[in-house]
């Protein structure tokens, strides 16, 4: 009991977040549930990118390509080999992880700038690479993935709690949530333990890390593999939740969306990707719904804003965040919490050692 009472505030936040995400589909429409599962999928992919960029300091602009690989692996296994979708998720994840691991080997030789360049080129080429083997991938048409009905047990449990019948969108939401929880828990453990420390040491100074006995090449490729594993899982879940994959579902802008999410939420943090994903997913939707609802604007303006809005807002956000808040939302909250703590409890500033002014007079 005393362990619960003395738990640090972040544990309470985690518990709140888990309850929030579990309860979400019971209070909203089936359509909204599928939107939230998309946001959670994005969060998983961003977590993968975050492990690579935030923790190990390697910039990838082509994570959409790994998502595409995971999505197509699942879709092909389901469509051609009639496998159960849930079985294909770990297969797609492991396969994409292996490819990412292999991709990480030549990436070791590249300077960060060249790595960014090569992965960006990969992201641009991905749609045309997918189109080519059209016997396997269905070419431009893509592949339809049949969405599974919720199993009896889950459906009954859901009906018992809410009194309504579980739709397949809601079932998919819970599948996504389950995967996301496991992967975030793993990422949290990874960040706190030896691999996470090693990756951060490499990010902050490769030579110093090597001198301390860290296997630099090993951990850098490992980061690539783990990151691709996350992206592959996200891709597989993406195919499940949209019920459809085609080359145009994985444009360059998807990779940019992932980067926006990682940067906005806060690099090298665990809650960052969730917050970043929510912003990166709902911002364009919100803006493209809000603008057309303004009836005083002429039609031509609203239709252009609908098309150009996401690009403009993503670009502006990337630049502004990098300029003014390089640690994203999480960094802002942490900084705010520190200031608050200092004011309320009279803790000195760790950097300057200066005591705060009297709380009564603030």
């Amino acid at each position: 009991m005393s362990r619960i009472r003395t738990a640090p505030p972040r544990y309470w936040l985690v518990a709140l977040a888990v309850i929030f995400f579990f309860g979400l589909p019971t209070v909203m429409s089936s359509y909204l549930a599928s939107e939230w599962s998309q946001a959670l999928i994005l969060a998983v992919a961003i977590m993968g990118l975050n492990i690579l960029v935030g923790y190990s300091g390697q910039l990838s602009l082509g994570h959409g390509a790994f998502m595409a690989l995971g999505a197509y692996t699942s879709a092909i296994l389901v469509h051609r080999y009639k496998m159960d979708f849930l079985v294909t998720i770990p297969i797609a994840a492991v396969f994409t992880g292996l490819v990412g691991f292999l991709f990480g080997v030549p990436a070791l030789r590249l300077s960060p700038l060249y790595l960014a360049l090569a992965t960006f080129a990969l992201a641009v080429v991905t749609p045309s690479l997918i189109k080519r083997p059209d016997k396997l991938t269905g070419g431009v048409q893509g592949i339809l993935v049949v969405q599974p009905d919720p199993p009896q047990v889950a459906g009954n449990a859901y009906s018992a709690v809410t009194g309504t019948v579980m739709t397949s969108d809601q079932w998919i939401y819970y599948v996504v949530l389950f995967c996301a929880l496991i992967l975030f828990w793993l990422a949290w453990n990874l960040a706190r333990h030896r691999p996470g420390r090693a990756m951060r040491a490499i990010r902050d100074g490769e030579v110093a890390a090597a001198a301390s006995g860290i296997n630099v090449a090993g951990y850098k490729t490992l980061a690539f593999g783990i990151s691709a594993f996350y992206a592959g899982t996200a891709g597989s879940l993406f195919a499940l939740s949209t019920g459809f994959v085609s080359p145009d579902t994985f444009p360059v802008s998807l990779s940019i969306q992932l980067l926006v999410g990682a940067v906005v939420g806060g690099l090298a943090s665990i809650p960052g990707p969730v917050l970043g994903a929510i912003v990166a997913y709902f911002l364009p939707i919100a803006s493209s719904q809000w603008v057309p609802s303004q009836t005083w604007l002429p039609d031509q303006v609203t239709s252009t804003v609908k098309n150009a809005g996401p690009a403009v807002s993503y670009g502006a956000i990337l630049i502004l965040i990098m300029m003014f808040a390089p640690n994203g939302i999480v960094g802002l909250v942490k900084a705010g919490y520190t200031v608050l703590n200092r004011r309320l409890r009279g803790v000195s500033d760790p950097k300057s050692g200066q005591m705060p002014s009297d709380p009564e007079t603030v």
């Binding site: 960029v53 300091g57 910039l59 602009l61 030549p106 030789r109 590249l110 300077s111 960060p112 700038l113 060249y114 960014a116 360049l117 090569a118 960006f120 080129a121 990969l122 641009v124 080429v125 749609p127 045309s128 690479l129 189109k131 080519r132 030579v207 360059v252 802008s253 940019i256 980067l259 940067v263 252009t304 804003v305 098309n307 150009a308 809005g309 996401p310 690009a311 403009v312 807002s313 993503y314 670009g315 502006a316 956000i317 990337l318 630049i319 990098m322 300029m323 390089p326």
Partner: protein, 293 residues
């Protein structure tokens, strides 16, 4: 053989377009050790400005230099507003910022001009001239001539003028240049302006071939990356040679390699980037970087 020569010649023409964009990348890389992911989008925006001038009744040959001057000014403004405040930031931050800039410029162009592809008037006639059995279109000859003149101008500017000398000095030894009274920060801005103008040339030359729309440069920038990497990213001469090689290679691969054509030509660009980076990361003309650790 005739077909081969024709493919090589038209490859050189498109190669010149890639070369100017690659040269723009090299100019900025030399100035601040950064690959500008927004270079293609900046060129696209300049091309739209040129299009607006031409549709207002200006002739191509007046609109062309006016656009270059405007692009030059635009490049300086972008450097002052977006890049200067974060000059000292780590390279990853800068890369993300230029990527944000690319997305922003792309969206702005879409916002102003929409996403419908437009035909861009070509200043050259589409007839061909017979050069000893090889048919060459005036358009290809014109593109080769224009890019050749522009590249020559940049070479003369950098190597034979005082401005060029200070520009290079500021890029290579900022501290020493500052002590000698060079305004290093403004020289960087000048470098951005120059790169933006050179990039605009590629946009104005490629627009009559492709249709003009906000995503026009997305494939061209990949070829320009390939050209810059192949030539060695800090070498202006390398960018030009690399551009020509990439242009010819892609043309030949599209014609002779089975299965490569249309979309997959872009994959050839990716393949060039990856092969060069793995086998010879300094490119053809680059020098091996020596690092003190």
């Amino acid at each position: 053989m005739q077909e081969f020569l024709q493919l090589v010649l038209s490859g050189i023409a498109t190669g010149g377009i890639y070369a100017s964009l690659a040269l723009a990348l090299v100019l900025i890389y030399n100035a601040m050790g950064l690959v500008n992911f927004a270079q293609g989008e900046m060129a696209m925006l300049a091309t739209f400005v040129g299009y607006a001038l031409i549709t207002r009744g200006m002739s191509f040959w007046i609109a062309f230099p006016v656009t270059l001057v405007l692009a030059f000014g635009g490049g300086i403004v972008i450097q002052r507003v977006v890049i200067k405040p974060v000059e000292k930031a780590p390279v990853l931050t800068l890369v993300i910022i230029t990527l944000g800039l690319a997305t922003l410029v792309n969206g702005l162009a879409g916002f102003i001009w929409g996403y419908l592809p437009r035909t861009f008037p070509s200043p050259f006639s589409s007839d061909s001239v017979d050069l000893g059995g090889v048919f060459v279109s005036y358009r290809d000859v014109g593109v080769i001539a224009v890019t050749g003149v522009v590249l020559l101008c940049v070479y003369l500017l950098l190597q034979h003028t005082t401005v060029g000398l200070t520009l290079r000095a500021a890029a290579h030894h900022p501290e020493a240049s500052r002590l000698l009274g060079v305004h290093v920060s403004w020289m960087l801005a000048l470098g951005w302006g120059l790169a933006s103008a050179v990039g605009a040339v590629s946009g104005m030359m490629v627009a009559p071939v492709l249709f003009l729309e906000p995503n026009m440069m997305q494939t061209i920038i990949i070829y320009a990356f390939a050209a810059a990497v192949l030539g060695g990213i800090e070498s202006p001469l390398g960018a030009v040679v690399g551009g020509l090689i990439v242009g010819v290679t892609i043309n030949l691969a599209g014609a002779y390699l089975p299965g490569v054509g249309g979309d997959l030509q872009l994959a050839v660009g990716l393949a060039i980037i990856i092969v060069v980076l793995i086998l010879k990361p300094n490119g053809l003309f680059g020098q091996a970087a020596v690092r003190r650790v």
